[in-house]
Structure formats: structure tokens, C-alpha cells
Homo-oligomer: 252 residues x 2
Amino acid sequence: MKKKKKNVNAAILIIGNEILSGRTQDKNIAFISNWLNSKCGISVKEVRIIPDVERTIIKNIRTLSKRFNFVFTTGGIGPTHDDITAQSIAKAFKVKYGYHREAYKILENYYGKAAFNDGRKKMAKMPLVAKLIYNPSSAAPGFKTKNVFSLPGVPSILNSMIDNCKKYLTKGLKVHSKTVNLFTVESNISKKLAIVQKKYKNYVEIGSYPFFRLGKIGVSVVSRSTSKKKLTNVNKDLMKIIKDKKIKILNI
Amino acid sequence: MKKKKKNVNAAILIIGNEILSGRTQDKNIAFISNWLNSKCGISVKEVRIIPDVERTIIKNIRTLSKRFNFVFTTGGIGPTHDDITAQSIAKAFKVKYGYHREAYKILENYYGKAAFNDGRKKMAKMPLVAKLIYNPSSAAPGFKTKNVFSLPGVPSILNSMIDNCKKYLTKGLKVHSKTVNLFTVESNISKKLAIVQKKYKNYVEIGSYPFFRLGKIGVSVVSRSTSKKKLTNVNKDLMKIIKDKKIKILNI
């Protein structure tokens, strides 16, 4: 991974009718976002979920790859007719599409010549300029085209190969977070919380999220910052509010 | 709900740093998409997840409300400083923002005058032209501004109030689906499947999704269409392929 640079960002593009229709519950967004932040210091700034439609994929690849440092796509790199991510990315960047020599070799070795049918061969078709992202689970590689990383949609396979993206990424500053869970309601702390957020507005992002647990309602206050020191300062201010208002903290 | 119209579509805009950062696993996308299709015949064509940043919300509201028949937003309508959906939507449409008289009354009645503090009052602030979406769980209403429906981020509350959106929606044709789970691999059926998809390309959308179950790998073939008859025809073709290839069907 290259040297640290502040504020490195990314977008995630989920390609697949099955997620849009609600048939399948997505699990890749949270996984990729957590991995990018914790392992690379990269913050996901936008996610889009789009159908398996070529012109839609092309348009979104062009927009997101210009707007963000990196783009991660999931889905559409398998052997069937609805797997059109690779060809769409080639068209988006106007680069040649065909059998990627290294990918072809990997797949041919994995399946053996006799069982290397057309469907399986399709998984070796991608932008010829692409760099491969090796897949320890099921051989078919992901690939990086310019700043776009294309990964499969099956979560277990994606999870097994994401570390292989690391060498192509520029490392940013990790966002640390601190959560305090309170037995109170948001409206009880909203005024004071807004004052703390204003005080640290350039350094810390404070979010407030209601929860329901143990039959009671509560609020998780989440502070996020690239500076651990600033987080400690915010926490001191929060503790003062909690003490003044006699709010019970839930330790979980 | 108004009379049926073919191909009514929608977009979902998830507003919230907690989903983008991966801290919270989204559950609203699949729920809204399933509800829209099964109850209203409306297909979700795009989903975006964006941060709690005013200019980003404004830009996305403008783009999506122009491009799709309806837009559903989730998140950012609570009492805290990071809840900026209502004001952003007012700005996106250049309409007046302030206390919505009906929402104010609902909340004042719910909390009682003495406990109706500034945080709670904030939840009555929205575009003045908005129509309310009643909330049976926790009183604070959602609202509809032009073709944009704003709902809360907490799934249990969202789920309890979504039926109240129905009266404002135009009904489309429901997309029916048929799933066949096969003990085979995608590459074994990809060629034949592509032929069936081509034959029905204007009527039926066929997707193929690998699964892992009972220690075996398999493929779910999902056909989707507004025509039940066309689905039956596709199914006949699929059954022929399955029989010819001697593939075992998994009944679940």
C-alpha cells in the first residue's frame, strides 16, 4: 500500500437486480466500508445500487470513478448472461475487452482443460488492461480497471479476497470512533449535543441513533474523527452533559 | 391508491453516516423494495446511500425526483443536529420550511405541553407544503414533499408507518417471480439460460445466483415478470433444460 494521504475516499457500486428487488439482503456494503476504514483509512462517501443494465453501469462507473479516489463494484462477474460488469467497465473506460491472459491461465489450471467450458471461460473476459485481484475461494479473479475494483457479489468469496486489493490502494487516515450508549431520549440531549458538535465541527462528526434494548429506549452517541485526541475531548464534554442530566450509561 | 399504470418506478435514498461507515447494517432497502413491489406494483430502480451533508442531500433529491416516479428517503428526521433531511428537501424544492401546523399539533398532543421541548418541536419542522405520513409507533410523522416520501431510519418505526404512504402512490403492475433452486453450478447452465433469456427478453428478466447449502453449492434461477403466463412459459423451458442435463432440484 502506498504512503498515507489525508482524506482518501471511495464509493461502492452494488450491481444486481436481486438486491434492488429486495430478494437478497445486501451484506457487502457494511463489510467493504468497515474494511476500507479499518485497514486502509479510506472513507466510503457514497453507495449506489443499480440493476444489471449496461448503459446504467457505464454511466455510474464514469460518474463515480471521476468523483471518488476509488470505486468498488460488487456483482456481475460470474459466468451467466446477467453478468455484464466486466464488459460494461471496458465500455465505460473505452478500453479493450477480451480474454485476460493471466486470468485465463488461472481458470484453466483450476478447472482443468476438459472442464474449462464457455461459461467458465467467460470469467476470464475483462478489460485487457486490468490488474487481477486473486480469489482464494473459487479461483475466478476480481480485477482493477483504473481506480475501479470489481469484486463478486457472493459475500463469502468477496470477504476472502478483499485483502488482495490492498496493494493497489493509497492509504488515508483512519477514522476512529467512540460510542456512548445512553438510557435517555434524543430530545433530552439534542440541544447540548448540537453545541458540542458546533465546537468541534471541523474535526469530529457526532451522530445520534436511537436504540431499543432490554425493553427500554436509548440513544447511541457516536463520535468519529481521524484525531484520537479530539475524540477524547469530545468525550469529556459528553460526560459532563451526561452527569449534569443524570443520564444512565449502558455498558455493552 | 390511484389506478394502475404500467412500469411505475421508484428510487430509495438512504441518508445517514452510520450506514455509509458500516456501523449499522441497513435493513430498510429490502423492506421498502419488497413492500413497493408486492403492495403497489412499483419497482425500485436505484438506491443511493449518502452522508448527512446538506448539499449532497439537495443534489440527490433533485436528481432522483426528476428521474423516477417516486423517491423514498430514510433517516435524518429526528430531533438532533444531524437530522437535516427536512430542511434539505425544502431547499431542494425551494419551498418554505417551518413548523407544519398539523405535525405540531400531533406532537404537542403526544408529548403534552410541558414535555414538548425544542428537540421534539424540531420534528414538526418540515416543508410547509408537505402531506403527513402518520406514525403509529412514536407519533413523529413522516412527510411527502412533491414525489418524495421521507421516512425515519429506525426500521421498526418505518415498517409500522409505510402503509400510510399508499394513498399517495400510483399503482403499477406487480412483478411476479419464480425461483428454482438447482444442485448445479452456473457454468453448467449459462449457455442454455442465455438462450431462454434472449427468447423472452422483452417480458421476463432471468437472474442466476449461486448459493451454498447443505454442504453443496447450487444455483437459484429467478425469473421475474409482470406476466404470470410468460413466467409459466419460461418455467417450462427451464424444466426442459433441467431434465436434459439431469439436474437435481432443491425444494425449499
